[in-house]
């Protein structure tokens, strides 16, 4: 339904400009509403900050108590937490509304309102879903990562910084793919709490080094639900860890894994919309 072979590169560029303009427009709208609901916005930011700050603190205390986890020092484990939070916040910044709000969109009929517009519904929802609340996560995550690298006395070379950025991008794509995929049953009005639990629950695992778990968990988090690529594998690279699992090339694999998963998630979401159009609700 989208695109078509006749579409030239020039036209594609125009289309991307179209969504970019739309995105800027929606950012303006969201910022305007924040101004009109200042109180609730700041209350939300503070609440988020406190709850994630508590998670940060709990991880810290736990690791402090053990001194080390399978050769990973407290700062190293905390870096996993920071990378996980940063990439999640980045993904949620763009995809949270699309993924979590989709059930509401279906019930309220707003999805129909989008389908009568000449837009790609996926891109439109990303534009529309600009979620400012995640600034608090991002600042907390950046803060965490800085104190970890400082505490460990690691100064990243420019190449390593680029690698870090690419890894976080890949990790964000993995989070995004998970958010998008778990939202598809909601398009069909099948409340799928199971997939939510799978996602939100498994996310906690990767705040600790993958190497402390037994083989089954390692296999699952590498090959089936590859959350290991969000924090553990790329962190090995920056920390110079050599407790490789499966294959020493995995620390470099985050971006390709993220791109692959995200592509699959996007196709699945489109399939979800096609089926919605076929069956209605």
């Amino acid at each position: 339904m989208e695109g078509g072979p006749e579409k030239t590169d020039g036209l594609r560029r125009v289309i991307h400009m179209h969504y970019f303009r739309l995105y800027l427009q929606f950012i303006k709208i969201r910022l305007t509403s924040i101004v009109s609901y200042r109180g609730s916005f700041f209350a939300g930011v503070i609440a988020q900050f406190l709850s994630y700050g508590a998670g940060f603190f709990a991880t810290w205390l736990l690791v402090k108590a053990f001194h080390e986890l399978n050769g990973w020092t407290p700062y190293e484990v905390l870096l996993l937490y920071g990378m996980n939070l940063f990439s999640y916040a980045l993904a949620a910044f763009f995809f949270f509304n699309l993924a979590v709000d989709i059930e509401n969109l279906v019930i309220s009929g707003r999805l129909d309102g989008i389908l009568v517009k000449p837009v790609n519904p996926f891109l439109y929802l990303i534009c529309n879903g600009f979620n400012v609340a995640y600034f608090s996560h991002i600042s907390l995550a950046v803060f965490t990562m800085i104190i970890c690298f400082r505490g460990l006395g690691i100064s990243l070379t420019p190449i390593m910084l680029v690698m870090l950025a690419l890894s976080i991008l890949g990790a964000a794509l993995i989070h995004a793919a998970a958010l998008v995929m778990t939202s598809v049953p909601a398009i069909w009005m099948l409340r799928a709490r199971f997939s939510d639990i799978l996602y939100w629950g498994m996310r906690e695992f990767i705040n600790y080094p993958l190497s402390i778990y037994n083989r089954a968990v390692q296999v699952i988090l590498t090959f089936i639900l590859p959350y290991g690529f969000i924090s553990f594998y790329p962190a090995q690279l920056f920390l110079g860890k050599e407790d490789y699992l499966f294959h020493p090339s995995l620390p470099y694999a985050t971006l390709p894994v993220g791109l692959g998963l995200f592509f699959v998630a996007y196709r699945f979401w489109r399939y979800g919309i096609d089926r919605y159009q076929g069956t209605g609700t």
Partner: protein, 326 residues
């Protein structure tokens, strides 16, 4: 080939069968049973460019489902729809550029945004060029008398203002067709009248093909040239308003509260007694047999009446009539 063609279109929905009780709820976790509901059942019609068609029927008749198929949201289970030679669901985006859609029961406006900025947003969504944009904003702000509430956030507008805003926004990109799903629902009489005037003007001045669903008989009488009536997914009538009125309309009900029991007294046979409840009697009559004014005068002149009430036939009555008369 007409402009809009609907050929033998069927739309079935699969609905999960829900049964009461805990055991059944647990069972449905593993095995769901579905009922097939036919919302639209082998419907055929054609609409030419520039027509103003009322698509009517009681609640749940399949009106909205048809609009959703015409606008490319839903895919028909069987049959074929073309709009200006294009199959809407296969070319959803291409079709979307040519149509405007307003769903009366839900909003497509941003709650916190004043209309001024909503127009900007829709310019970006539809990629409307600046000249056309300026011209249309001016035209519709004037037509819908929106000047007084352009700067207020949408959430503060009255229902009537909101509906005008919805229609204006749906027309900003110069669509060739406008689908209005229950555009007068929930509005007061004055606001309804405004919306009706606007709809007529859009059709006559902008030459936009217009299809509106409603179950309000006044909407039908005051704006539509042509009526398509459906019930339970089946087409019951397709033709001019005048024929429709002659065939199904004109019926009315008079409820009379007599001052004291009028037993034994004969009432004009043109008024058909349908129910008695103490001193209250209900009669049904038809305009072609006796005019409402004559019927009223008849009761006032001949009886001691404490209260009189006349009710025109509503869509449910008309549909019932259609079944009786075939």
């Amino acid at each position: 080939m007409s402009y809009i063609n609907v050929e033998n279109v069927v739309k079935e929905f699969k609905v999960v069968r829900r049964e009461k009780g805990l055991i059944n709820a647990l069972k449905s976790l593993f095995h769901r049973e579905y009922d097939i509901v036919t919302a639209v059942d082998h419907i055929n019609f054609m609409i030419d460019k520039g027509e103003l068609v009322g698509y009517i029927g009681p609640n749940g008749a399949g009106k909205s489902t048809t609009i959703k198929m015409l606008s490319g949201i839903l895919v028909p289970t069987a049959g074929r729809i073309t709009v200006d030679g294009v199959i809407p669901h296969q070319n959803r985006k291409e079709n979307a550029r040519r149509i405007g859609v307003v769903f009366g029961q839900r909003s497509s406006l941003e709650w916190d945004l004043p209309m001024e900025e909503t127009f900007d947003l829709f310019q970006k969504i539809y990629r409307i060029d600046d000249r056309m944009y300026k011209r249309n904003v001016e035209f519709y702000v004037e037509l819908f008398a929106m000047q007084s509430f352009l700067k207020r956030p949408v959430r503060q507008l009255s229902l009537g203002q909101k509906m005008r805003a919805e229609i204006a926004v749906a027309l900003l990109h110069d669509p060739e067709i406008l689908y209005l799903d229950e555009p007068t629902i929930g509005l007061d009489v004055v606001a309804k009248n405004h919306i009706r005037q606007f709809i007529k003007r859009i059709n006559s001045e902008k030459k936009i093909t217009l299809m509106l669903t409603t179950h309000d008989m006044d909407d039908i009488e005051q704006i539509c040239d042509r009526i398509i009536m459906i019930d339970q997914g089946k087409l019951l009538y397709d033709g001019f308003l005048q024929n429709f009125k002659e065939k199904y309309g004109g019926e009315y009900t008079i409820t009379v509260d007599f001052a004291y029991a009028e037993e034994g007294r004969e009432v004009d046979p043109r008024l058909q007694l349908v129910s008695i409840e103490g001193q209250r009697k209900v009669y049904v009559a038809h305009r072609s047999v006796i005019e409402t004014t004559e019927a009223l005068r008849y009761f006032i002149d001949n009886f001691d009446v404490s209260h009189l009430n006349i009710r025109e036939a509503d869509i449910e009555d008309v549909v019932r009539n259609a079944y009786v008369k075939g």
